[in-house]
Amino acid sequence: MKKLFTIALAFAAMSSAAWAETIKVGVVGPFSGPFALQGKNFKAGIDAWFALNGNKVGGNDIQIVYRDVPQADPARSKALAQELVVREGVQYLAGFYFTPDAMAATALLQQANVPMVVMNAATSAIVAASPQVLRTSFTTWQTTTPIAKVAKDQGVTKVITLVSDYGPGIDAETAFKTAFAKEGGQVVESVRMPLSTNDFAPLMQRIKDSGAQGLFTFLPSGPPTLAFVKAFNDNGLKAAGVKFYATGDLTQESDLPALGEAGLGLQTTFHYAVSHDSPENKAFVAAAEKAIGNPAELSFPAVGAFDGMYVISKMIEATGGKQDAKKAVEAVKGLSWISPRGPVTIDAESRHITENIYLREVAKDANGKYYNKEIQTFEKQGDPGLAFVKK
């Protein structure tokens, strides 16, 4: 019995040895189901990176192995991550759209000797869960905090917050309240909406009744944002001059055509706009649009994936293709480069990305295409949420 087992193990070891010059990267994300669009953007970002940089780093081929977790499902995410490490022999884990999925997989990293590059999941605590986690996306705290300043600067002192009742929504609510209080503003009411809300009209009535001058909201990207914005306009709040503030999740580029006229003028803060004007971004967008097929589908997870691949390539360089998670992570601490979103740095201490946050407004270009127009830059923003992570 034991002998058989040893043989099986030996086989497993041999097979990974034989593939040594191909370095595998396991990417876990939602590639089917309701969030398939975001998974598609992961892939587009990664493909764009390959298109611009080739798939060799220092003589090693990089191969991506995709695994699908359609909806937040930590048990499945962990099982797949485990399978990627043990069976596929991946040296890097990456992707992770949802926080619980990322959290679940962090438990494996140390024993597996594998670094994890979070390409989206936006809860501050993930990087604290293991010293082998890096993040190339953003946190909800990071993108929310600046909008409080924007509101104050526009003379708004009374705000009502409406957020979806789940982790990121609650994060956004807390972040906004904290930041807005620091600015001297007042949050008159905080409402949490169930994720399954279809009809937002009654909530609009609540906004009206609260007497707030402005609204801060956080909703997951996708169908609810459309209904929410339409309800805001249809119920006369826009006409009444109530200011609308949100993070960029609400105006992600792939939702803009659906929002149409209703979205015009919405102000959001975010780390990336597809329209960002820089040579790096032009190259990236060209490659990513080609990779995704339909340019209208390109959205923010792609840039997180693209930069994630950059960090992974640097780690491969630093270790010469050998599996050594500690050395790899050490090598990219403090790493700075020009991302399609602007200048960024992997913070040496938190391993989270420091980046510019932009205030953008939805506008229409000459071809009638809607885009997020950057109008103000908050430079070198770290993650204010880290201070609140329970140890």
């Binding site: 089917s32 189901g33 309701p34 398939a36 669009l37 598609k40 009742d165 409402v191 949490r192 909406m193 169930p194 399954s196 809300t197 279809n198 009809d199 009209a201 009654p202 909530l203 009535q205 609540r206 009744d209 996708g222 169908p223 459309l226 209904a227 339409k230 249809d234 119920n235 006369g236 006409a239 792939s254 939702d255 055509p257 659906a258 149409g260 097929g293 339909n294 209208a296 589908e297």
Partner: protein, 287 residues
């Protein structure tokens, strides 16, 4: 008082949208006795077709609605002929398996063909904007949805209660073998009923698109809502579905206004209460 009025209007508008989308399911489940979990899939197909016709081909809203209804029915005909006909009268669980399978396929194919982004159906200028009621404003398309809902309810009631075809449907439901023996071709009755139900699904998908946006996962996302409406109303009953839609719309809307945090609890506790009190649906008691 204004707030109460305002909530009442929201409740009515939401309830009527629920009605328009769910009534087709009530027909398949009540009259044809099929647990049709693919109802949302057909509504979604309708939405996609309308979006394609109205937005991408620029045919306009009215044409979009027509294309949606006719197109969805055409797509549904072979599905009825080759798949549904095999599960009429089969155990509920078999029907669940088959219709979930169909839903998965539709989702996958839509995702492949149209991509995962939201699709909108551009409204004609007359339905855009909102109507000022003095104390509040209401979106014009919602008024349109309310009116359409009432028209659909009336037409359907007329079809089932007052026409020869309606008699055949009701007879076939009561006793298919006996009806067949009387010379009624039940498979045609079933096929036509199915087509009507699918047409209603497509119409609902289009009319409700402002509230329940069209995207590939639509087919599963709202399935539970439709099921709840139909069973609370009593499958197969038009007045039942109407009352259930309005009632659930009212509960949902009030719950979301008064205690949005606990809106889910509010809604489902109410469902449990209603279903326990009226196990055969609201219409089961009204008769």
């Amino acid at each position: 008082m204004q707030t109460v009025m305002s909530i009442a209007i929201d409740a009515l508008a939401y309830g009527m949208v629920l009605f328009v989308i769910s009534i087709g399911l009530s027909v398949t489940m009540g009259l044809m006795r099929v647990v049709n979990l693919a109802h949302g899939a057909f509504a979604m197909i309708g939405g996609y077709l309308a979006s394609y016709a109205a937005r991408d081909l620029g045919l306009g809203y009215a044409a979009g609605v027509l294309v949606a209804i006719i197109g969805t029915v055409i797509i549904a005909v072979p599905i009825e002929r080759f798949l549904y006909r095999r599960i009429y009268g089969a155990p509920e669980l078999t029907q669940v398996l088959m219709t979930i399978g169909i839903t998965f396929c539709v989702i996958g194919i839509t995702n492949f063909a149209f991509g995962p982004t939201l699709k909108t159906i551009p409204l004609p200028p007359s339905l855009q904007g909102s109507l000022d009621l003095g104390f509040r404003s209401i979106a014009t398309h919602r008024i349109f949805a309310i009116a359409s809902g009432l028209v659909v309810a009336a037409l359907l009631w007329f079809l089932i209660e007052k026409t020869a075809f309606g008699i055949k449907i009701r007879a076939a439901v009561d006793n298919a073998a006996m009806t067949a023996a009387l010379g009624v071709r039940t498979e045609i009755v079933y096929a036509v009923s199915f087509a009507v139900a699918i047409g209603l699904a497509a119409l609902g998908g289009v009319l409700g698109a402002e509230l329940l946006p069209v995207e590939p996962y639509y087919a599963l996302r709202y399935m539970v809502t439709f099921l709840v409406v139909v069973s609370v109303g009593g499958a197969g009953s038009i007045p039942g579905a109407l009352i259930a839609s309005l009632l659930l719309g009212a509960i949902d809307t009030t719950g979301r206004y008064l205690a949005p945090e606990y809106g889910e609890f509010f809604f489902y506790l109410a469902v449990i209460l209603i279903v326990t009190l009226f196990p055969r649906g609201l219409a089961g008691r009204l008769k």
